[in-house]
């Protein structure tokens, strides 16, 4: 079952354990896990984001996973204004 979860490590060394489907929302993470690189064996990915931003990103993965097929009554994803620019860059990096 451990296969079903992967660990994301932030630059300030916080560990975020999320499900694979959630991680797969990001094409970057998906490629990292699916190809024959080190990450596919360890299921651990070290990232260059701080824990605050990474936390929000993980939140988004689950939000996306939950609502992507839902057409009505989708709640807005809350983005703290001060984090907006960081998240914008991150979404480009994660391709999601």
């Amino acid at each position: 079952m451990s296969n079903e979860y992967i660990t994301l490590i932030s630059s300030d060394n916080h560990h975020f354990i999320i499900s694979k489907p959630a991680a797969f929302v990001s094409n970057t993470l998906k490629n990292a896990l699916n190809l024959n690189f080190k990450e596919s064996e360890t299921n651990i990915i070290k990232l260059n984001e701080n824990s605050l931003v990474l936390n929000k990103i993980c939140e988004y993965f689950y939000y996306n996973l939950k609502y992507k097929d839902q057409e009505i009554d989708v709640p807005e994803f809350e983005i703290p204004t001060e984090m907006a620019l960081e998240l914008l860059v991150a979404s480009d990096y994660f391709d999601c």
């Binding site: 690189f37 990450e39 204004t81």
Partner: protein
């Protein structure tokens, strides 16, 4: 949201750090090298991705792109130099291809950000495609397709070996061909789909396949054995069909099948059919189901029947001259009666038709072939002019006369065969003429249910206008039966024939009847004119019969004889002897009829009611006839038949033909007028087409029609156009 005042944090400090291209590239380059050498499991995707991401973000995209391209290119050139051209090249290249694809997938994923941003913006091929194109240029096509050609050759060699019966590894062939298909020729123009497979492999494959099957089919043909050819070709095609789907691209399948069918079937079949010892002729002669069915199956595949049709036609004509003409010659040699000839001939035709029906059955009753075979029959049967119409009429006549002895199956078969041959007759009006004569004679003797059955069969076949007059004859017979019953005279029965329905013309000369007969005739004439005033009766004595009871020396006999014979015999009621001249004066029977009648009652061996002196077959004016009291016969009832005069039947035939000619003139004239009346103006050719379309009963020659048109022009039913002489106008 607006109310909340907060400061937006600037993104990422690390981006503000200077990115060193050389440093990042050296990490990437090393890793790409490891990936290309299938040694990537220690690499961190995230690290590589981040490096390429940063490079692209810092506008090093172009440099990165070019560097990656060169690195892959160098790597492939290195591999190329290690590939040896030998039997194992296929496996080797396939291995390299497989791993190159995996490597490229990994590299392109690491460089995902490059693809997404740099390539898209600059409309350049993606990294993965670069890798594939480089594989094409640096491995397969390097040095004038050196490796590509070698692979083509190896693949073809394996396929040829397999065609010759050896076991082949189709997996490797299929992989190589799939690789060829993946190597796009023109990367900027993906739509036209040109790839290495289509450009280099397929033409080579088609050419080699062509050579291979051309050789094999020639060799097979040279064995000179048609059945062998068919079977082998069938096997070859089946084998090829089963095998090629294992390796060949579906794009090439139709081309391949067409090619093989064309080489093995279309181009050779004509000569194969012509093979003398084991070709079409022998299969047809021996009704070979296996060969003919297989032949049909193969021809159906290519939808090519021309050669078969032409040859069947020839064979039918040969067959006809072998069987039918031979039969005719035999019969004519033996001076057989026309009835015998007719029955033999029709019998042979039916046999021949049955034979080809069986063969047609082997051809799945293909409608095209059926039509062509029937046309061949029409051609041969009508090539003998009017004979077929006459023979069929005799054939039917003979069968119906003897139909009491036949069972239902035989009758069914008779009806079928008659209608088949009827269908083959072009000049149906001629047949009608012959048939009507026979029918008239039969009806006046005694009617038969079979007649009506046959007429309705013919009616179904061609329509009621053809049978109208024939049906009129039946109607007359029915009315006459009622009339005789009403007239109610126990010794008298009459048939009243409507002149236009019957092929019998009234005899203009009146003859002298004996008093008894005369009074009976008067009585009936009276009765009939009371019944239908204004109708004229003419008496046709030569179709009637008289029954007479006579007491001879030994026994009383009941004679059933033609009217004329009866009248002559009745003369001798009071007188012992008369000369020919006296009989003639006393009866006024026309000369030829009188001679015939006298021959049948004085010379015919079994019915010598009179004695003639001198006893000879010729009759002269002074010959003396006496009543023969010593006449005897085994049965009480004696039937006297009229001697048939052969010259007369020949005459009948020529008059028939003349009448037909006349009838046809009328019919064509009527048709022309009818057409012109509705169309008003028509060109000569249009008119010809119309006429032929409307005339069902016979097929007139264009010259004949032309003469009729000329005749109508003379009679001013039509006139020529003033400007265009080939166009006619209708004159009201």
């Amino acid at each position: 949201m607006l109310s909340r005042k907060s400061k937006i944090r600037p993104p990422k400090k690390n981006l503000s750090n200077d990115v060193n291209f050389e440093k990042s590239w050296s990490i990437l380059s090393q890793s790409i090298d490891q990936i290309l050498n299938q040694n990537a499991s220690n690499l961190s995707f995230e690290e590589l991705y981040r490096n390429s991401y940063n490079l692209v973000l810092r506008k090093f995209g172009k440099q990165l792109y070019e560097n990656v391209k060169n690195q892959i290119s160098d790597h492939l050139l290195g591999i190329n130099s290690r590939i040896l051209l030998n039997k194992d090249s296929m496996v080797k290249v396939n291995e390299i291809w497989e791993s190159h694809q995996i490597s490229m997938r990994m590299i392109s994923d690491v460089l995902m950000y490059l693809d997404r941003v740099y390539c898209k913006e600059n409309h350049l091929p993606l990294t993965y495609d670069i890798g594939i194109n480089l594989f094409r240029d640096k491995i397969i096509k390097l040095n004038d397709n050196k490796i590509g050609n070698h692979l083509n050759y190896l693949v073809m060699e394996q396929i040829t070996l397999n065609r010759n019966g050896l076991i082949t590894d189709f997996f490797i062939i299929k992989s190589i061909l799939k690789m060829f298909e993946a190597l796009i020729e023109d990367e900027l123009n993906l739509e036209n789909g040109e790839n290495f497979y289509l450009k280099y492999f397929e033409p080579f494959y088609i050419e080699k396949t062509h050579q291979y099957y051309e050789n094999i089919s020639l060799e097979l043909f040279n064995h000179g054995n048609g059945s062998e050819y068919l079977n082998k070709v069938n096997d070859l095609i089946l084998n090829e069909e089963n095998k090629c789907i294992l390796y060949l691209s579906s794009i090439s399948l139709p081309k391949l099948n067409d090619l093989i069918n064309k080489i093995l079937i279309t181009s050779k079949i004509e000569n194969v059919l012509k093979l003398s010892n084991d070709g079409l002729k022998s299969w047809i002669q021996h009704s070979k189901q296996d060969e003919l069915s297989l032949l049909y199956k193969l021809l159906k595949k290519v939808e090519y029947f021309d050669a078969l049709i032409a040859q069947i036609n020839e064979i039918i004509i040969d067959d006809e001259s072998l069987t039918l003409r031979e039969q005719l010659k035999q019969d004519e040699g033996k001076k057989s009666k026309i009835v015998t000839i007719a029955i033999d001939y029709i019998g042979q035709v039916i046999k021949l038709k049955a034979k080809y029906d069986t063969i047609l059955n082997y051809f799945q009753n293909d409608p095209i072939l059926q039509r062509n075979i029937e046309n061949s029959f029409i051609e041969i049967l009508n090539s003998k002019g009017t004979k077929i119409s006459e023979y069929l009429s005799y054939f039917i006549d003979e069968f119906i006369k003897k139909s009491k002895e036949r069972n239902d199956d035989e009758i069914e078969e008779f009806l079928n065969s008659s209608i088949i041959i009827f269908r083959f007759i072009k000049d149906k009006d001629l047949f009608e003429k012959f048939y009507k004569n026979h029918l008239a004679k039969r009806l006046l003797k005694n009617s038969n249910d079979l007649e009506k059955l046959l007429i309705s069969t013919i009616k179904n076949e061609i329509g009621s206008s053809f049978t109208l007059k024939l049906e009129g004859m039946f109607k007359d017979m029915n009315i006459s039966k009622d009339l005789s019953a009403k007239f109610n005279h126990k010794n008298f029965q009459i048939n009243i024939l409507t002149k236009t329905f019957w092929p019998i013309q009234p005899n203009p000369s009146e003859i002298i009847l004996t008093p008894v007969l005369e009074s009976l005739q008067k009585q009936f004439n009276q009765y009939y004119s009371d019944l239908y005033s204004g109708r004229n009766l003419s008496w046709l004595y030569n179709f009637g019969t008289i029954d007479i009871r006579i007491k001879f020396n030994k026994k009383i006999h009941e004679l059933n004889c033609p009217t004329y014979c009866g009248i002559i015999i009745l003369l001798f009621e009071d007188i012992e002897e008369l000369t020919f001249k006296q009989i003639k004066e006393l009866t006024k029977i026309p000369n030829s009829d009188l001679i015939r009648s006298l021959l049948s009652i004085s010379v015919a061996p079994r019915t010598r009611i009179l004695t003639k002196s001198p006893m000879s077959k010729e009759i002269k004016d002074d010959d003396i006839f006496k009543f023969n009291h010593n006449f005897s016969a085994p049965m009480t009832k004696v039937k006297i038949l009229t001697v048939i005069n052969k010259i007369e039947t020949d005459q009948e035939r020529t008059t028939n033909l003349k009448e037909i000619e006349e009838d046809r003139k009328f019919e064509i004239d009527a048709t022309i007028v009818r057409i012109m009346k509705s169309k008003k103006i028509l060109s000569h050719n249009e008119l010809l087409v119309e006429i032929v379309k409307q005339l069902k009963r016979f097929k007139p020659s264009p010259q004949f029609i032309k003469r009729r048109i000329d005749n109508l022009l003379e009679r001013e039913y039509l006139k020529r156009d003033d400007n265009d002489r080939t166009t006619y106008h209708y004159l009201a």
